[in-house]
Amino acid sequence: MMNDPFARIRPWFSGASLLWPVLGLLTLLVFNAIYAPGFFRLELRDGHLYGTLVDILNQGSKVMLLAIGMTLIIATGGVDLSVGSLMAIAGAVAAVLVTQAALPFAAIVGTTLALTAIAGTANGLLVAAVGIQPIIATLILMVAGRGIAMLITDGQIITFEHAPLVFVGNGHLFALPFTVTLVLLTLGVTSLATRKTAIGLFLESVGDNEKAARYCGINTTLVKVVVYAFSGLCAGVAGLIATSNIKAADSSRVGEMMELDAIFAVVVGGTALTGGRFTLVGSIVGALLIQTLTTTMYNLGVPPAVAPVPKAIVIVAVCLLQSEKFRQQITSWFGRRQA
């Protein structure tokens, strides 16, 4: 038997190689270093770090959080379209509570997250117990959830100045936006929970071969319900951030199309949509990749209407980079030219 020196740390990065998405991200950063002066400038203001890189972390926090939950769902072979609407619900509930109820902040956050987790559980039950295809099961909540959020805010944009809630999306901790802490915390807890227990193994088994996993005695229904509930929770946190960010609950717009960004982040990060092996770190890299891309477009002054074109090119380029077949072909061309 061969000795595998990385055997111990490998599970933390399992799934496809992280190398390629990271390389994609680095390329983008290098590009910015050349074409966007000031991209890497960081200054300390009032004890806070300030600069484009910080913005990327801060703005990207929502997709990163969604991507963490989404990774686990995708690992089981599912998908969650409802996260954007769940963000709206979270924002609506929190905003209404801070403006209309005299509750301690912890209770408000608790209620909000409990609600989105319950909504996620409902998704999970539809998928795992009723057996509806994930895309449809979560589409239902995607459509209805936004209606519920709008109902809660009565179709209005609810603004607030509630200091703790404002802090969630705008505050700073350790010189960095508080959202970074939230992401790291969620990532840390999720990584530990999946790799220091057998949960990760169970998720991968269910996604890779559900029937075999069931025959091994894994409660596949429970596993699925839990990941959807967890994704609901992540969406709740992301919703709080988004709402706090603009100090307003914008039920009809918040989180729109973010489900696609989250799925994109996960897939670019190296977790296959077909389920099985997953990598949380990869998804985070994927999320940073899209956020950097968006910021790059702003910085270069690409007209918004045509901005999708360079975006498309980057996406396909990163894909090709990840493709072993493509790399082989490039090497063979290169080899032939030399010969």
């Binding site: 038997m1 061969m2 595998d4 055997a7 111990r8 490998r10 220091k196 227990t197 057998a198 949960i199 193994l201 169970f202 991968e204 088994s205 890779d208 071969n209 029937k211 075999a212 996993a213 069931r214 025959y215 091994c216 005695g217 894994i218 409660n219 099985g276 092996r277």
Partner: protein, 502 residues
């Protein structure tokens, strides 16, 4: 002697660091049935995949019908006249049986499928193998053996110069094997060349003209079957003496020792649309066989006991307690284990490592939070890799990269590691080489000695007779007889199956 049809020289193929084939040669002549033999992981399937364009060889040359070939896909191989049945049944489970047989070459009129003609041709193809099925049923309604026959029927349906069969008989019982051999002989007589992989020595001698032996990816030799006695063949395959294992072969069925309290007692279990009726009881230290023709309901019985197909009538008690098992989880909690015959769709978790596959059931029974210590996992993996002689690059290799027989051994390890009170083995020796087969028989004996109850399902009646002290015979989804002690004889079982009604 006629010109060779296929001439393979010096083929080499490596996967990462593993050399699956190392300078292998193979010569086939028209009108010959040729066996490819070797231990699990010797490289047989890899050689076949190289021949048929699934893998590109790293080195070597292939000549077919006088021309140099380098097929890049199965499709190309078929086009030049090589038809193949791969080891794992490679069909599309969601399509109908007829579709599976004729996919890609359905009769058409003006570009449209002729459904009636398709149905007919599929039925004819199956009838050649002595099989009568409703060909409009989806393939996933078929048992493993039926699927295997469908795959063979598909390969037989085209006019090829060379037919390759990678373990076609692993799920078949004698009757089907006879049918198949009849067909193969006829094809040989028509001048077709056949390449054939099996781990059943009897079959090798019954039908083949020549034998090529591989060992550890290397070419050992090409022999005329008549010049190669069994023992020499085994010696060539294993590279060592086989006397000890041979002795296990002739072990008589051990007499029933003292009667112990029944562990599991099933009475008149049945499930609408699945099983009519089966009763069965088993005590610790007992090995009970389930026998019957294909489709008789052996697998279904196992699945009813294991909670995969919870029965809707009858009663079940375990260790004297009335229970009903509604899910595999519950079955496992009660001390049952079930090693499925369909390792591809019900057994392996393909992308997970050998280690993870082995400890999965054990971990599941501990629950998600109490993770088995990594050192313990490594230990278990190392233990079973050694104990079952599993050929793998490392315990961290994804199981899908293992050869079929080695995957099967990992599945066994998964359930043995659980130390269950009752283990149901559905075709445990499917695709396992002679050496390992004997080892597994020994293993069953030692499990029995440890007081484990074993339900043993196998299409190989000899094997059932060798291992089991009692045999429950099924037919048409119901129990028709139970034989024990001296009655456990191949002839008796065959007789019961054949002449029950009369």
């Amino acid at each position: 002697m006629s010109e060779p049809l296929l001439n393979v020289r010096n083929v080499t193929k490596a996967f990462g660091g593993v050399k699956a084939l190392d300078g292998v040669g193979l010569t086939l002549r028209p009108g010959e049935i040729h066996a490819l033999m070797g231990e699990n992981g010797a490289g047989k399937s890899t050689l076949i995949k190289v021949l048929t364009g699934v893998y590109t060889p790293d080195d070597g040359a292939m000549q077919f019908d006088g021309r140099v070939i380098a097929p890049r896909s199965t499709r190309e191989a078929e086009a030049i006249g090589i038809s193949t049945v791969y080891q794992e049944v490679n069909l599309v489970p969601t399509l109908s049986i007829a579709d599976n047989i004729l996919l890609g070459r359905q009769p058409t009129r003006f570009g449209f499928l002729r459904k009636k003609a398709i149905k007919q041709r599929a039925e004819v193809a199956l009838a050649r193998l002595g099989l009568k099925l409703d060909v409009s049923l989806p393939l996933n309604a078929c048992s493993m053996a039926e699927q295997q026959l469908v795959a063979i029927a598909r390969a037989l349906d085209i006019q090829a110069k060379l037919l390759i069969l990678d373990e076609p008989t692993s799920s078949l019982d004698e009757r089907e094997v006879e049918f198949l051999f009849g067909v193969l002989r006829r094809l040989r007589d028509q001048g077709m060349a056949l390449l054939f992989v099996t781990h059943f020595l009897d079959q090798v001698y019954a039908i083949t003209d020549r034998i090529t032996v591989l060992r550890n990816g290397a070419f050992v030799g090409d022999f005329a079957a008549a010049d190669l006695p069994r023992l020499k063949l085994i010696g060539a395959m294993l590279g060592r003496n086989f006397e000890e294992l041979e002795s296990a072969d002739s072990d008589p069925s051990p007499a029933i020792t003292e009667k112990r309290a029944t562990f599991l007692e099933a009475q008149e279990l049945g499930k609408r649309g699945v099983m009519d009726n089966v009763s069965l009881s088993i005590a610790p230290g007992e090995v009970v066989g389930l026998s019957g023709l294909l489709g008789s309901g052996r697998t279904e019985t196992a699945k009813m006991l294991f909670g995969v197909l919870p029965p809707d009538r009858g009663s079940l008690s375990i260790a004297g307690q009335r229970t009903s098992i509604r899910s595999p989880r519950q079955a496992i909690r009660l001390g049952l284990a079930f090693c499925s015959e369909d390792r591809k769709s019900e057994g392996i978790i393909p992308h997970l490592s050998v280690r993870e596959n082995m400890i999965l059931a054990m971990q599941a029974s501990r629950g998600p939070l109490r993770l088995l210590a990594r050192s313990e996992q490594d230990q278990i993996a190392a233990h079973y890799i050694r104990a079952l002689n599993i050929k793998t690059a490392s315990a961290e290799t994804p199981i899908m990269n293992l050869s079929g027989g080695n995957q099967q051994k990992v599945m066994l390890a998964r359930w043995l590691a659980m130390q269950p009170k009752l283990i149901i083995l559905d075709e445990p020796t499917r695709g396992i080489d002679v050496g390992a087969k004997a080892e597994i028989e020994k293993l069953v004996h030692s499990l029995r000695a440890q007081g484990m109850a074993v339900i043993f399902i196998s299409s190989d009646i000899e094997e059932v007779v060798r291992t089991c002290e009692r045999v429950v015979v099924l037919r048409d989804r119901r129990k028709i007889a139970e034989l024990s002690g001296a009655e456990v004889q191949p002839n008796r079982i065959m007789n019961v199956i054949a002449h029950h009604d009369e």
